[in-house]
Each structure stands twice: as C-alpha cells, then as structure tokens.
C-alpha cells in the first residue's frame, strides 16, 4: 500500500540544493549552481543555503485539497564526514512531531479569532496566515542559515535535503486519539538531494553527491521563479530574480527574457525594461512561445496606455489556432484572466470616448468590454474582477438593476479586506514559529539550539 503511494508520487517534485551565499544574507553574492563544481566552505563562515523545490508532474498546486492538514515539509540535515549532525531543520521530536520551525509546504489557515485550523474544522476557515503551496510547474526557494563550525575537524560537510510527506500532523492525531499519541503514520520521501561540500583545501573523503536531473538553465530558471514568487506580486526578491533570469538568457533559453519581463511587470518598470525584455523574447532563437509574448506585451501595452495595441495582443491569443496549440490541446478562450484583461483594455478604450459627441462610440466599446467580462464569468462565475467591472459598465450603460446585481456579487466574492485585522496579529503573537514563517522572505536556521533531530525509523524512501 505504501509502495503504491510511493510509486504514484514518483517524479512529482524535485529538490535541488542550488547555491550558497557566503555571509548568510539575502543581499550577499551567490555561488551557483552547485554541481558540477562544488564550492569549498570556510570554517567559521555563515552561509545562506538556497534549496529549490520544483513541482514537475502535478496538474494542481502542491498540495491543494486539504492543505490545512496535509503535512509536507523540508528536512535539511548537515553532517560532517563522521556522520555527526551539525545542523538540522525538519527533524522529528517527541511523539514524532515535526519541528515547528521547519518549512512546511501548506496553508497555515486561521479562524476568525486567529486560532489555527488544526482539527480539520474547515467550517471555521477565515483567512490564511500564510500560503506556502507551490503552483504546478513552478518553483519555490527555501533559504537556510548554514554555519560552518570554526573547529570542524573534517574535510567534508554533507547537506541532505528531502521533502517528506505524511497525511496528518501529530496535533490532529492527538485531537482524535489523545494527548499521548505518537504519530505513527507512514512518512513518504517525495524527493531528495545530497551534496558533500569540501571544507578547507583538502580533498573530501567519502563524498556523496547526487547528480541533478535538471539541466543548468532550468535550475537557474526554477530558482528565479521561486525568488519572483516570494511574498506575492510586486514584492519578492526581485533583484535576485533578475540575476537568475539573466543567467537563463545567457544560457540561450527564451525563458530568460520572458521571465525577466515578468519581473519587470511585477516591479513596475514597464516603460523601458519590460519592453526591451519582450523584444528580446520575441526574436530569440529558439523563440519564446508566441502566446506568452503576446500576453505580456498586452499587459505592458495596457499599462503604458497603448490600449489599441493591447486589445490587438489579447485578441490575437483568443483568435489563434496554431499547429502547436492544436498539438498541445490549448484553447485560450477558456482562460478567464485573458477574458478579463481584454475586458479591461476595452473598457479603458471606452473611457477615451468622452463627451456627448462620442456617446455612440463609447457605448459600442462598453458593450465589447461587457461581452468580454461575460465570457469570463461563464468560465468562473465568482470572478471578482469581472463582477466589479460589469457593475461599473452596466451603470454607465444605464442598467441600474444589472449593475446592482454585479456589485452585490463583487462584494460577496471579494476577500474581506478587514479579515486580517485581528486574526493575523493574534496568530503571530501566539505562535513564534508561524510568526517567523509568515514573512515574505524567511531564513530558516539550521542551528536552532532547540531543534528536533529525530529520524523516523523506516522512512519509506525513494524519490531523488
């Protein structure tokens, strides 16, 4: 049974010990990729260890579903070449509890009083403290503080990073079976990566090094995606993401300039940087996917006020039916974001038709915009952007009743802006580990004095 689960989850996720930053700070210089060359670590030095987790074969977020109770965490262990444990995050403690100061790939969900949803009490779900899920085909970067002891006395330091999964956490089991229960649920190893770093000039003996399965450009690309995604849109480690995607471009991949355009869009430099990056993506050999170039060009054109060009960009994607698209089964008319963005551009165009003389042209554009948002609603009936804009458009077209209806639905489906007011602060005060993990940029410490170091005997291995 466990074997069946292991096989099912094979190759779903990849873990990559990607780089180190001597000095230990986000702003310090990166040494990467680790392998084929492996940098030498200095005794007494602090490093930022960059671990990249990438979803490969999933069609949905990792983990999605019961993301409040699925327990998925990174276990990073640092040992010298005698096997002595020098640092750990993600170890097990009493009753096989996972160290709460580990990185969990889950949603830390709260009720309206700021208490964690930890009893599968989904009916109380109110607002997330944080969401560490990874979208399909995307990466996440987990930062660790790695301190090399001054008097290390060995020639090698082995870092092993594995992604563990089990169905329920210990808190939940104790809620069911009693406070003394130990968590005996099987733990699956979804992926694993190992690198032995030489310490000092001597040759490391007994080195254990896994060969990465991803090509170098993809390792840089996944790292960059993880950096871009930190903290949500417009935040993130954008400076570091730019460096990563620049490497991808230098390695001859169109993902480089395309993803640079994503960063520029996120940070708002759309009048220059984003245009230049998309020009390079458009003419790259091999070419970036035409639909992606058209999409991002549309967004850039829209923000720069080139609204007619933006409309043409979005329409070109909707009307396209290329060989490549047929081969891959793409139908972009099913993308609600595309319908919304076209609607926004058409609405913006309508705003240019000012005054009584242009009233007919304005109404025509408003109807076009309306149709676009209606198509979006056919795909996602709860879409907040579509309802909001239809509320405005119907107002301007004189249909008060339809406007009120959409405004009410916008208010209903829109996340509550005051939801975080109390719950978040209470939750962060109550749980220091969650408080630490809730920031956009987090550095997990491998050397916390109170860290859990236990291993579960017979961890169902595989992965990597």
């Amino acid at each position: 049974m466990i074997e069946a689960h292991r096989e099912f989850n094979e190759g779903v996720v990849d873990v990559d010990i990607f780089g180190v930053k001597p000095g230990g700070g986000i702003e310090d210089e990166l040494i990467a990729p680790i392998r084929p060359e492996i940098p030498e670590l200095e005794p007494g030095e602090d490093y930022l260890l960059e671990v990249v987790v990438r979803t490969l074969a999933l069609g949905h977020h990792l983990t999605q579903g019961t993301a409040d109770s699925n327990q998925l965490w990174l276990d990073v262990a640092v040992r010298d070449d005698t096997g002595r444990l020098l640092g750990r995050s993600g170890g097990l403690g009493e009753g096989n509890r996972v160290d709460p100061w580990s990185h969990f790939i889950n949603v830390y969900m709260l009720d309206r009083e700021g208490a964690r949803i930890d009893r599968r009490n989904a009916e109380d779900i109110f607002v997330p403290l944080y969401d560490h899920q990874i979208p399909p085909g995307a990466g996440d970067v987990v930062h660790y503080r790695l301190a090399v002891p001054r008097a290390i006395g060995t020639t090698g330091l082995t870092v092993e990073a594995s992604l563990h999964y089990r169905k329920f956490d210990t808190k939940y089991l104790r809620h069911i079976y009693g406070e003394e229960t130990a968590n005996e649920l099987p733990i699956l190893d979804l992926a694993r990566d190992t690198v032995t770093f030489p310490v000092g000039p001597a040759e490391a003996s007994g080195a254990r090094v896994r060969q990465p399965v991803k090509p170098e450009w993809q390792r840089w690309n996944d790292y960059g995606i993880g950096l871009l995604r930190k903290g949500g849109t417009g935040r993130g480690e954008l400076r570091q993401a730019i460096e990563a995607f620049t490497h991808v471009e230098e390695l001859g991949r169109p993902d480089g300039p395309l993803n640079l355009a994503r960063v520029y869009l996120a940070q708002g430099t759309v009048t220059d940087d984003a245009i230049a990056a998309l020009e390079r993506a458009a003419t790259f050999e091999p070419p970036a996917p035409a639909w992606s170039v058209a999409w991002f060009s549309g967004l850039v054109n829209f923000q720069n006020g080139a609204v007619d060009e933006a409309i043409a960009n979005f329409r070109s994607i909707l009307e396209a039916d290329s060989e490549e698209m047929r081969r891959r089964g793409f139908d972009f008319s099913r993308d609600v974001r595309l319908q919304n963005q076209l609607g926004l551009a058409l609405f913006e165009r309508a705003k240019r038709e000012r005054g009584p003389a242009r009233a007919d042209a304005r109404a025509e554009r408003l109807h076009e915009a309306r149709e676009s948002f209606e198509r979006g609603l056919a795909i996602d009936p709860e879409n907040v952007t579509a309802h909001y804009n239809l509320g405005l458009i119907y107002s301007q077209l004189g249909d008060r009743e339809a406007s009120d209806r959409h405004q009410a639905l916008h208010a209903k489906y829109k996340p509550d802006d005051n939801a975080r007011d109390r719950a978040i602060a209470i939750a962060r005060r109550a749980d220091p580990a969650a408080d630490h993990a809730a920031e956009a940029i987090v550095i997990y410490d491998l050397h916390r004095p109170e860290r859990f170091e236990g291993d579960r005997a017979g961890v169902a291995g595989g992965g990597g």
């Binding site: 700070g25 430099t269 220059d272 058209a294 550095i443």
Partner: protein
Amino acid sequence: MKPDPPGGEGSEPQNPGEEPRATDPEAGPGAEEATPEDELVAEDDAVIGRAFARSLKVLAALAAAALIVVALRYVFRAAPEEAREIPVAAPRAVAATPDVPAIAFTDITAEAGIDFVHVNGAEGEALLPETMGAGAAFFDFDRDGDQDLLLVNSTTWNARADAGPTMALYENDGAGRFADRTASLGLATSFYGTGVAVGDVDNDGWVDLFVSAVGPNRLFRNVEGGRFEDVTASAGVAGADTEWSSSSAFFDADGDGDLDLLVGNYVRWSREIDIEVGYQLTGVGRAYGPPLNYGGTTMDFYRNDGSGSFTDVSEEAGMHILNPATDTPVAKTLGLAPVDVEGDGDIDVLIANDTVRNFLLVNDGSGVFTEEGGSYGLAYSREGAATGAMGADAADFRNDGELGFAIANFANEMTSLYVSQGDPTLWSDEAITAGIGAPSRRVLSFGLFFFDYDLDGRLDLLQVNGHLEDDIEVVEPSQQYRQAPQLFWNAGPDAPATFVPVEPAPGDGLTRELVGRGSSYADIDGDGDLDVLLLQTGDRPLLLRNDQETGHHWLRFLLRGDGERVNRDGIGAWVEVEQRTAAGPVVQRRRVMPTRSYQSQVEPLVTIGLGAPASVDELERVEVLWPDGARQAVEVDSFNRVIEVDYEPPN
C-alpha cells in the same frame, strides 16, 4: 406499460422469491398444465414480449439512423481550418513626450531660514507611526497678507511635553524669508503630531490651528495673531486618548456659516500590538508591519456650534462604517478630499483608506453623510481590489466640468485618477489613458495635489514619493527608500494623454530624492506662481521656489466670508473664470479648500493661470460661487494681482 389485469387495480403480488414464469411458446407437452392464472400471466408475458420486441426494432432503427448520420457527417466534414498563428509582437515603445515647458524649482530651504527637522522617534524598533510622517500648512496667521508656514512634528517615544521636539511656526516676511516664532506664539509643546487643519473656527477673523496626533489631538485658538491658546478641552475635539489620527479637514458641512471638523483615523495601533509581531523585510532585523494586520477605525466628525465649541456627532453623521461580516470598523484613513461632488451646494468628502476600500461620504446638506464609494465606482482599483491609498486631491483638471479625484497609492500600484463620467454618481479610473499610470507604479506616493505651475490655465499634478523601508533596494531594484517627486504637466484636451511626465533639469530641486510624505503649496514670494513644500519623515522639509519664466499672466483671489452666512475663510467657495481663447471659451473652476495632499493644508487663495491673453477683455466672466449658493461677479481690470473678494449677500 403493462395493462392492469382484469378485475381490479394493481397486479397480483407475486410470492416473494418466486421467479416469474416466462411465457414459453415452445413449451410442448410435458410443460405444467396451464391454470387460468397461468394463462393470465402468460398473456401478460406475451404482451410484454411483443412490446419488448417492438422496442428493440425501434431502437435498432434509431441506432442505424444515428450511425448513418454520423458517417455522413464524417464523410462531409469541413476541412480543418487554416492554422492561425499569433503574430509575434513586442510592446510598443513609449511615445516621445511633446515639448514640455521648462521648469525651474529652486531649493531655498536654508536660505529661507527653515531649519526644522522632523523627528519620528525611530530607534530600531520599527514602530509604524515612525514611517508615516507628518504634515504642514501654509496659512496667514498674522493677517499681514503673506503665507506663513506651520510644520507638524512628531517626537521621540518617551519625550516629555515640555522638553521634546515641537512643531514649528515660521512667520513669512512677505518675500519668502521665514522666522521661527514657535515659542513666542505658545506652540512649543511636544507630542506625536501627524496632520494639520487650519480654519477660523470662531469666525473672529483669525485662522485657528488643529493638529492631529497619535494620541489626543489639539486645537489651538489664534488670539489676534499674537499667540495661540490650547483650547482642546473646552472645544471637545481631542478624540480618544489612544487614537491615531491622520488627515483632517475644516469645512462647513451643515451650511450654517461656521466650520465643522472631520478627522480621519488610521489603524488601531499600540506599541504592544506592533512589537509583538516579528515583521521583517529580508529575513533579519525588524521591519514596519503593514496596516493589513491592524484593526480599522471610524472617522470623527465634530459639528461647530458657531463659537468654536464642538459636539462630537460622529455616529449620527454616518461616520461609523462597519464591516458587515464582523461588525468591526473598516476605515484606515490617510487622505481626505472634501468637495461638492453632486453640484448641490454642500460638501461631500472622499476618504482615501489604506488597504481597504475608499469611501465617498455624500452630504445631505445637513451634515449627515451616506457612504456611496462602492456604488459610485470610487472604492476600488480597476481590478476591483482595495489599494494602499495615501494622499488625495480633487479638481476639474480638464476644464470640462467633470471632477477628478487623484489618489496616491502604494509602491507598484498606479495612482488612481477617478473621473466622473458625465454623472456625479458614475466614476471611472482614467489613470492609464491620462498618462500617469505606468510612471506612478515605480514609486510609493504619499502627498499629491493639482496646481498650475506654469500658469497656462491647466492644472498639473505633483506627487511626493518615498518608501517605508530603508533597505528596500536589497530586494526590489526598482524601489529606493528615497525617491524623487514626480511632476506631470497637463498637456491639454487635444493631447493623446492628458498628463506628461516632466524631466527636471539636472540639479533642479525636483531631482532631490526624498523619503517624501506630505506636501503643500503657496505663493511665498508674491510673484504669482506657486512654490511648493515637500516633507520627509525623520528629515528636513524641502521648500522649492517656482522660478518659471513663461511670462504667463495670472490672477489670485483671496475670498472672505461674512462669518454668518459664509465662514470667514471662504472654504467651500468656487472661483469661475471664463476666458476666450483661440481654441474657444475655456472655463476654469477652482475652489477654496486648504485640505489636500497628505496630512497637510495648502494656502487658501485661488490661483488662476491665464496663459498669454492679449487683454482683460478676453475674460468673459469672473464669478465667485459662495457655499450658500450666492453668485457674485468680480470686476477685473488688470492681470497679475491679488483680488480680495468679500462676501456680498444676494439682493
């Protein structure tokens, strides 16, 4: 359908367990001898059998027909359409900007004698108020015809009222040189000040001073220009002891000729709440916690009884706006823009809230407000989401009779520019088409205001910018802690985009990078054009003298109410100037309203730029529309002067 057996409804129930005996036409001798009941069952079975066989034949026929149809369609299917590729298209380059008139803003802060430094109390704990800054006000406290300057100060967290840093009131000598009169005027008291509102609350002809704070707010009565007296207690406007108040405004809400007071409050904050959460920026140290994690508040509204004594009527006036899901206060107010939105003669108020929806308080004329931001389209961004709104201003910036609200937003968010769509109940964000969208995403904007810096008759826009975290560049290369202000020139109705970003010349005062917060304007040197004041948190302000040399003509209007029907400061009055131009008649409508930007007040005079008219005859109409509805024509016989207009009651 099996027919009922003769003799009654329903069929004879079979014995359970017994298999129904099928009709077997082949049954020959040796079969059980048939009973009458058997015959009935056999007959029923035969009926069923025939019906079943018939059904099978029909179904087979239908299936055959379906197969034929499918086969035909396959044979005659349309040839696969031509593949339609997506044309490869990079975005259009940003158009070169039209010729923008040269500007010159000269930093005269030191030369003008302003040595004020804002103290925010930051000592490494990253307490939120430290990064939010304080405001300033230009007003004529001594009635000598020039604009003096009040700079609000915050303080260190443990300072004593009589020993810590204080606000500063500088007296203008008329030529733009300022002398510090704070102590002699009785204003040397230390508290954590944030915003300011000025107005003659007792209609005695001297402009009084309200300073909002983290903690109790203060009202200082101007005693004949010689000193200020703290009348907070008797006036009843301190607000709650632990409230964090921000922008505030004096205006006549109930039309009784005196100034009422609206105070915006930010978030429910205390040092304890702040310090217990581990806010960080780069995984180390401590950062400022976002307003998202603090409770909302309600605005305070005080009705003036005429003598400068106020009654807190917040709840009756409609200020207690609660979240319907949790019954908790919604607002996180940073900016206010009081303006008559409906054109019905009373003042409504746009409330800019940070990370929650904006409000539009629609006045019913008696000082009772109904919140209509959502249904009017002023509450959210174009995606239907709340923005991090800070400063705000309102103006008819296209000179076409439609009002616009500009709201400064957070980093990576565009400035909002809501414009009424021919109907005061319908608003749309036109920031993108107006040309300020993309440029404003690069900065974190606080104060902003419309003003005509080149006196060509069209309102331009100035934004003051600055980030919250001093190490933001570590992670966001496009953001710095200190950011230059952004000036947008109004290119007029025929331009593709109304607002064009202005590139200041190297060394110009507007190239200075600031931790910008509030802002204000006034003609401090009496040369007719507007000079600007830019404020920073935890640092010096920047006073920039406008040295434009367009040679454009201007008129400035100083309005005075009678203190009975219209408040002495003329707040809420409009000046309308209709001018004949080559492009047709142009009507400028500008209002007397000190409350603009972020936590600040601008001078009360109305400045009208006239461009280059040949003669005063080109002015078709110059009128004042007073808050009580009275229209008063104004005689103008020459340009480039201040015209004082005293309220005349209608005949």
